[in-house]
Symmetry: D2
Subunit: 317 residues, 4 copies
Amino acid sequence: MNNKISVGIIGATGTVGQRFIQLLEAHPWFEVTWLAASDRSAGKAYGEAAKWNLSTPLPSRIASMKVSPAKPDSATPKLEDVPLVIPEVNGDHTQLIKTQKWYKDKGGFMVTNPNCSTIGLVLALAPLHHGFGISKIFVATMQAISGAGYPGVPSMDILGNVVPYIANEEEKMEAESRKLLGSLNGASVVPADLALSAHCNRVAVEDGHTESVSLKLRKPAQAEDLIAAWKQFRCLPQKLNLPSAPEEPVIYETAPDRPQPRLDRDRGRGMSAVVGRLRPCNIFDWKFTVLSHNTIRGAAGAAILNAELLKAQGYIS
Amino acid sequence: MNNKISVGIIGATGTVGQRFIQLLEAHPWFEVTWLAASDRSAGKAYGEAAKWNLSTPLPSRIASMKVSPAKPDSATPKLEDVPLVIPEVNGDHTQLIKTQKWYKDKGGFMVTNPNCSTIGLVLALAPLHHGFGISKIFVATMQAISGAGYPGVPSMDILGNVVPYIANEEEKMEAESRKLLGSLNGASVVPADLALSAHCNRVAVEDGHTESVSLKLRKPAQAEDLIAAWKQFRCLPQKLNLPSAPEEPVIYETAPDRPQPRLDRDRGRGMSAVVGRLRPCNIFDWKFTVLSHNTIRGAAGAAILNAELLKAQGYIS
Amino acid sequence: MNNKISVGIIGATGTVGQRFIQLLEAHPWFEVTWLAASDRSAGKAYGEAAKWNLSTPLPSRIASMKVSPAKPDSATPKLEDVPLVIPEVNGDHTQLIKTQKWYKDKGGFMVTNPNCSTIGLVLALAPLHHGFGISKIFVATMQAISGAGYPGVPSMDILGNVVPYIANEEEKMEAESRKLLGSLNGASVVPADLALSAHCNRVAVEDGHTESVSLKLRKPAQAEDLIAAWKQFRCLPQKLNLPSAPEEPVIYETAPDRPQPRLDRDRGRGMSAVVGRLRPCNIFDWKFTVLSHNTIRGAAGAAILNAELLKAQGYIS
Amino acid sequence: MNNKISVGIIGATGTVGQRFIQLLEAHPWFEVTWLAASDRSAGKAYGEAAKWNLSTPLPSRIASMKVSPAKPDSATPKLEDVPLVIPEVNGDHTQLIKTQKWYKDKGGFMVTNPNCSTIGLVLALAPLHHGFGISKIFVATMQAISGAGYPGVPSMDILGNVVPYIANEEEKMEAESRKLLGSLNGASVVPADLALSAHCNRVAVEDGHTESVSLKLRKPAQAEDLIAAWKQFRCLPQKLNLPSAPEEPVIYETAPDRPQPRLDRDRGRGMSAVVGRLRPCNIFDWKFTVLSHNTIRGAAGAAILNAELLKAQGYIS
């Protein structure tokens, strides 16, 4: 029929699975041809199995597709040689694929994208780290409910409330940030030499993670240097003109009360990190706020951009 | 009729003014006898002038009281000799009163309480600072809408949203914390030798400010030392058995997802700071979450406790 | 130890079970001595089994009580002779107890309280029905999330949203209202001769069901007649001075924008229905808004008031 | 430069003014060339005068346009000969323009669109009224905060709350619905012979008014007849292929818990009314829920569709 690359989605009925379907519906390179979910959904038509929770309609072609059973045990190995990738940050880490046994045997391979709270942060950190070196980072997050999936957070827990705890989230932010900003040394990643301390909170926001950040640089830099670094940040996905790549991976907002999740999460079709409120920190050097869309840039869109990079790099064809 | 001390409230129709009325309604020592507000309200009965916004009924005695015009210019001098006081933290700073010209002339004087976001934080810091010395503090706040008064924050700004900016709030937290934890040197306060960096955010919560805190101590301490310091924290208001003093100024909660504003803001009748999630910080020493009720402990209740202290100290009779 | 009547709670860990514990903690007549819940909770201490979700602390005596397994099949028979009771409305229907087989055999019996959305409505209807006769009622509800229990409504379904559907709720409101306003005829209840049409909606409110009501009367009445009927409404629980009986079962609020759940749900310690906005209906006769606390007056408090009535009537001793 | 028709916006900085700018940005026929607002904004660049509150960026061309002072007194006459129009419902009422003095004198004229809560309702009623005749309607609304403009509803009034009152809204719904469904008789509109009773409530929803409706028909009809009437409803805007006309003015949703504002307000690019939950009413004939986007279909989009109709009818060129 067409030359698009077939895509399968595991966990297709969940919050992120739905975003995959939405974002891939008109994709120029990829086409969803296989949907899998838990045993409860398997065998049903997708439209019947999923409680569609997005404000764009469920595509009718997808609605009638049959859901296959997921085999999560075979799908989630934890391997040292699985690259953790943000295309704008460490697109070269995909080379680790070549060390994967599967790849050597049959050409199959696995690549992952980071946690939703990590991606927005690291997009904002990367140009600063490359330009000036970052040694220490404090970050306090205010994360959206969609990050917990569906049914996820009970309304009685979050309406008019804050939950100052997300299991394992702080540990992930700390480990993944160092890995993403690290460098390849042959077949392994050397984590960046920086310390990160995270405080993760859940707030009553539908989509969009907001993060308060303080950081210490290795080289002195002025506010205009940081802003210039963010504005000039153009990377592999932008150079390769990947379909899901935002024109500006990092957008700097000058209004004193921005970014805000309701107003800024859809910038760059949900793929840009939006930074604002850059001001001096009286312990470290600088503080600012960063926001990104947790189910687009932080999940489904991240994986699609990874896939686009892998196609451009020749791993997928 | 009775021997209660007469109290006047300036800004009586506002969010904090209403809390004053609520909290003083059955007070054993004080009685509201004078209410003042802006020209728009002056001359009206209070019940007509105020849009009562609390879930306890407006007392009928108050409803029928006539509102006087406020003269805010005479009421808000910024004087070096006005003590900034949290009774549990620096109750001795009230001595500054004696240096006030008014006091020497006629016995009148002025005392203030800190900003709502400062009070909860400093209650949690004080026992640690006294026990181990604090040198550095990071704090990111998630503040309730009631902190902005009424009409205050437009619903279109905060519903399903976060606003990462509260004008002048970060500066206040930084300056006030050092002053409150500082020491008296004759007629002036020597600020504590510590650095604080604040990130202030507004979230969709009615009452209760939640704060993510990281801190560095001067003396090494274990988690159990910190928890013991909080639990044993009993101060002047508790010793003097002041009517509004909470039994425990700081409550430590062990559940991993606490404190939460909806569940914990009313602890100690809204006068306790609730701390939880103590865990190591991989940049400083420790991190934790602290919550306090911003219009009780952070505003009206704070001022009433100050007044109670001043009566116990003999400044008011 | 004392002469209080022992009380057991089935479903003790749920939203309503927690309210029972809260409301019974200082009850003059009753004492919780047995707690039961699902198999998942059985055998654990209550404090461990339940995720306590109220803003008053879990009583320590209760926290250490062991949870028994619930046997819901034996606890939920659907019997014609089980009275459905609101003490202010149809306290005489408890006579049906005498026809229960259990009661005749061993003195045990069963009494139920209505659905949470029915109770507030029927409290407002009862004095009008008694005074003027009601023939037709339209009601559209805006119901709080706590009515669905915990975890109940997912936050992704209700944050910034309305769900225009609550399974079986409309049918219950229609059937129960007629029964509660009906009359005893020997051993059975003759439902009131009135028609009710309900539209049930879920909104982003923690506690308190708000209902828009239009009604047609059999006898003409002026606004002041209706308001007088509500204000004068004093019934069996008030005459018997039952501990949980509100002084005023129905409170009429004159402010044009009341009742509101956040401001009015706790009136009469959560046991009063609050009515406002009485105005002519240009199809039926009158329209108004009624609000009541769904987990106090609409659930746990309702059952406790029933129990108090049953004690006063001699069924419990 | 181009042949687009110049458009001026009065109240350009407000919530609806912003929607006008957003919706007209890529309009094929119209171009915004004049912006007016209150004296406070006049003389400033729009980007400086307006607090842009939409999630799509403010177009840079608009941001730099200078805001003119509005003269609201000349802009809001209440004339009998000003047609109140929904193009799908009463597009022929624009003939009233010809009776306007301005039109006869200079070709200028005035047309208005209904209140936001009326439009969605009347779109759902029109096909039923035309097919079966409607005699009585009950409607209870749950209206979004954006309907009150900015700053509009204070967050302290609506967070976790319902406000059962919107000034003048019920009267408008009752009068406008009869007028829109009425017929032209020479130079005047004969209101439809039907009675409507409205209960208007504000809820914590950003955009999208949800309405619970009961109605009585003059001719008997089955559920499938009503659903067919909605599905087949295609009118002047659809026939004329107007740029802002939704393909389906009324969409019927079969899921039992729909429509919902968060999920359905953007259907038909915010220009469709979404209906669901059709079920028998045990007082009237039928009940259902209808939802529409209040600032698109209910305000800016409504006016733009009116303008498109007027161009197609030759009033504008």
